[in-house]
């Protein structure tokens, strides 16, 4: 087992790190204060190919593997969580779903422009009244001739006002014996008549991003936009989360690293009682714990990425990585603030933003509580992963790099 990164991975990491440092870091505090996503971010991520990083070249992607996606997310979130959120919804939840469940026509129609960054993609699962209880969703999709008619509202949708395509989940069969079997997935084009959206402000964190609501009022969606079969919606949504939460795990790992770096820098600079505070053991302890969290989180997400590369089902491993990294990133940010003392409490420094950003990741893509239930289920043998009709394709450079 070679835990080192190949020179190719190193180059990818360096490139994304440079982009983040040069083009996002200088103005991120401002954007966070204004609670607005800087307009250049999505176009630049598209231009640079980041929005298509792990998709096959023949679908307009850059032909890198799933481990690269994780590494990229780690670098993006080390600058700001909002950059990684873009990857979570555009790539993890939406594009990879098209790769896994889409027909060839759907991949050509929707995945290719997404991979090229020509279209921005989002994920519409959560509703005002349904979060963890996915099967309790109220949105409907009724057959009408050759189309479906969508009605319903989704909330807490990242890139709600910016996405061209949203993977939208709705109930097609209200009479299903098990509500889980009554859901279907659709690729909603947001310029369709009847689609409205708006931004949500006042979030504790992820303020330099774009989060909002999307509402469908009698929106017609052709059958060719239905992803997977009727009734497969819940299974599709869960498999999307395997990929979305992988990016969250990788991103949170980057956030831990950012907290560690900030803590080390400040501890060396700041003097108290005649010496740098890095010399005090209680400060050192905080740094040591961050190192431990970082290394463990990194190994967990990289393992999940390798399993995706190998075409192995990784629901358990990804859930574990996400739960661990997100909880650890919140703790790391809190301790990073403590190291900074009163300065940590001010937005003059980055660490308070890290804390506010970290808190959200403990809630979305499966709350930490949901993950604990999952892990207990696996451990007790009460939870088993059934085979899926469509699996995420294993990474094959010969196919990805046409």
């Amino acid at each position: 087992m070679d835990f080192r990164l190949s020179p190719e991975y190193e180059m990818v990491v360096r490139m994304v790190r440079d982009f983040g440092q040069k083009e996002v870091a200088p103005t991120i505090r401002e954007a966070d204060r204004r609670q607005e996503m800087a307009p250049h971010i999505l176009p630049r991520m598209g231009e640079l190919g980041i929005l298509g990083i792990c998709l096959p070249e023949r679908y307009g992607g850059q032909g890198f593997d799933y481990v690269s996606l994780g590494l990229v997310c780690e670098e993006l979130e080390a600058v700001d969580t909002t950059l990684r959120v873009v990857m979570s919804v555009h790539m993890g939840l939406n594009s990879m779903a098209l790769l896994q469940w889409g027909t060839e026509e759907q991949r050509q129609a929707f995945l290719v422009p997404q991979a090229k960054g020509e279209k921005v993609a989002g994920f519409g699962l959560t509703e005002p009244g349904a979060g963890s209880d996915v099967a309790g969703m109220a949105s409907t999709a009724r057959r009408h001739g050759g189309d479906y008619v969508l009605n319903g509202e989704k909330m807490w949708i990242s890139l709600a006002t910016k996405a061209h395509h949203i993977l939208w989940f709705a109930r097609t069969n209200p009479d299903a014996a098990d509500p889980h079997d009554g859901l279907s997935a659709f690729l909603l084009e947001t310029d369709s008549p009847g689609v409205t959206s708006g931004d949500i402000h006042g979030k504790l964190g992820v303020r330099a991003g774009s989060t909002g609501w999307v509402n469908c009022q009698d929106v017609r969606v052709p059958t060719r936009n239905r992803i997977g079969e009727e009734g497969e919606g819940f299974r599709i949504a869960m498999s999307c989360l395997d990929n979305g939460r992988y990016t969250v795990a990788a991103g949170a790992t980057g956030l831990i690293r950012a907290c560690l770096d900030a803590g080390v820098r400040y501890a060396k600079d700041r003097h108290a009682f005649g010496r740098p505070i890095a010399g005090f053991q209680l400060i050192q302890q905080k740094l040591a714990v961050m190192v431990q969290s970082y290394e463990a989180a990194r190994l967990l997400y990289l393992r999940a990425g390798e399993m995706k590369n190998a075409g192995l089902r990784n629901t358990r491993e990804t859930s574990l990585a996400k739960w661990f990294a997100t909880d650890a990133s919140f703790a790391a940010a809190s301790e990073a603030i403590q190291i900074h003392g009163a300065y940590g409490y001010s937005d003059e420094y980055d660490v308070e933003r890290y804390l506010r950003n970290a808190r959200g990741a403990m809630i979305y893509e499966g709350t930490s509580e949901i993950h604990q239930l999952m892990q207990a289920g696996y451990a007790l043998g009460t939870r088993k992963d059934a085979a899926l009709r469509c699996e995420l394709p294993a990474y094959d450079p010969a196919i990805w790099r046409g």
Partner: protein
């Protein structure tokens, strides 16, 4: 028998480049054991006056080679002329100031004569008949000694202001060997000149003058009657203060910086902010005016080679990391500094 030392006098627009005289001083200082006289070398068009000036700075004699074609500096013809002269006179050492021109010139002459060239020397020692130069590497993080043990001439370019400039003495006399040069026509053509853009970038600046909160602190100034709002009056006063800072910066060819407090208070745009959340700078000289020295600011400028602090408050933390400090009112001190630097540095 002692060896000859040649000093190349770099010039632009008819004026000698000041550090050329520092090079003359270095040559003179290398001691009679190494020098049987210092020969100033001037190449160009209409530059005979520079040769005479070199004599007043201490050169024993001067060689001038002129041609209309040498009016604009181009390295190839200048190198041809200089190489020819060095081959004829066989000096042990060629000294030059370090400029964009002399770097090219020294580089090419070194190739012609198969010898070493050392730019940016900050000190010189004579060791076993050779000049050992010390120069910075890794952006000054380290110093290396460098010597051409056997090749002659040694070519050494001194760093600007690393050595003292001698004072000229109009009574000094020396022979000037002036003649026409006949360089082959250069392949390149100078099409023209353009003024450089105004303003020095903070991160590249060798000298930075920064203002802080204290810049607005002048009760003696009366804002114009139209300004009634207290906050606007404060900003007006601060802008007067920053104008003084700008003038001091201009006298030093420096960039203008500011502390976060000054930026937040609206005195000056964010692009000038130095500090953890602004730019991190590492100039040779950082002059902090009316800046208390909060850690956030220090993090942005602490690695400056020399820090000068001007502040009314003798207890201000900035004095703990400053090399030189002045306790006083920056409204008095800063203009006085501008006056002195303008005179002494002639900018």
């Amino acid at each position: 028998m002692a060896d000859k030392i040649f000093v190349y006098i770099d010039h632009y627009n008819g004026q000698a480049v000041g550090p050329s005289w520092e090079a003359v001083g270095v040559a003179l200082g290398l001691g009679p054991s190494l020098s049987s006289g210092v020969t100033a070398l001037v190449v160009g068009d209409g530059v005979r006056g520079l040769a005479e000036e070199a004599i007043t700075y201490g050169a024993t004699q001067a060689i001038v080679r002129e041609s209309a074609e040498l009016k604009d500096f181009r390295p190839e013809p200048y190198a041809d002329v200089v190489t020819g002269i060095l081959k004829e006179h066989q000096p042990a050492l060629l000294l030059m100031p370090t400029t964009g021109r002399t770097r090219e010139l020294g580089a090419m002459v070194a190739v012609d004569l198969e010898t070493g060239v050392t730019p940016d020397a900050i000190s010189l020692q004579v060791d076993q008949g050779a000049v050992v130069a010390t120069r910075p590497i890794y952006a000054g993080k380290l110093l290396t000694q460098e010597v051409a043990r056997e090749r002659r001439p040694q070519i050494v370019m001194i760093r600007t202001r690393a050595f003292p400039r001698p004072s000229p003495d109009a009574s000094k006399k020396g022979a000037v060997d002036a003649a026409a040069a006949a360089p082959p026509p250069p392949a390149t053509q100078v099409l023209g000149y353009k003024a450089s853009e105004a303003g020095v970038s903070l991160t590249d600046a060798g000298v930075i003058v920064s203002g802080g909160r204290g810049v607005s602190n002048n009760g003696r100034l009366t804002p114009p009657a139209e300004i009634t709002d207290e906050k606007q009056k404060e900003i007006w006063r601060a802008q007067q203060g920053f104008e003084l800072i700008r003038q001091l910066a201009a006298s030093l060819g420096a960039a203008v910086g500011a502390s976060r407090a000054a930026v937040d208070a609206g005195y000056i745009p964010y692009v000038n902010q130095v500090g953890q959340t602004g730019k991190v700078v590492s100039p040779d000289l950082y002059i902090a005016c009316g800046i208390s020295g909060a850690i956030q600011h220090l993090a942005g400028m602490r690695t400056s080679k020399t820090i000068v602090a001007v502040n009314k408050d003798a207890e201000a933390p900035i004095f703990k990391i400053a090399r030189f400090g002045v306790v006083g009112d920056l409204y008095d001190i800063v203009p006085a500094m501008t006056e002195v630097f303008r005179t002494r540095l002639g900018k």
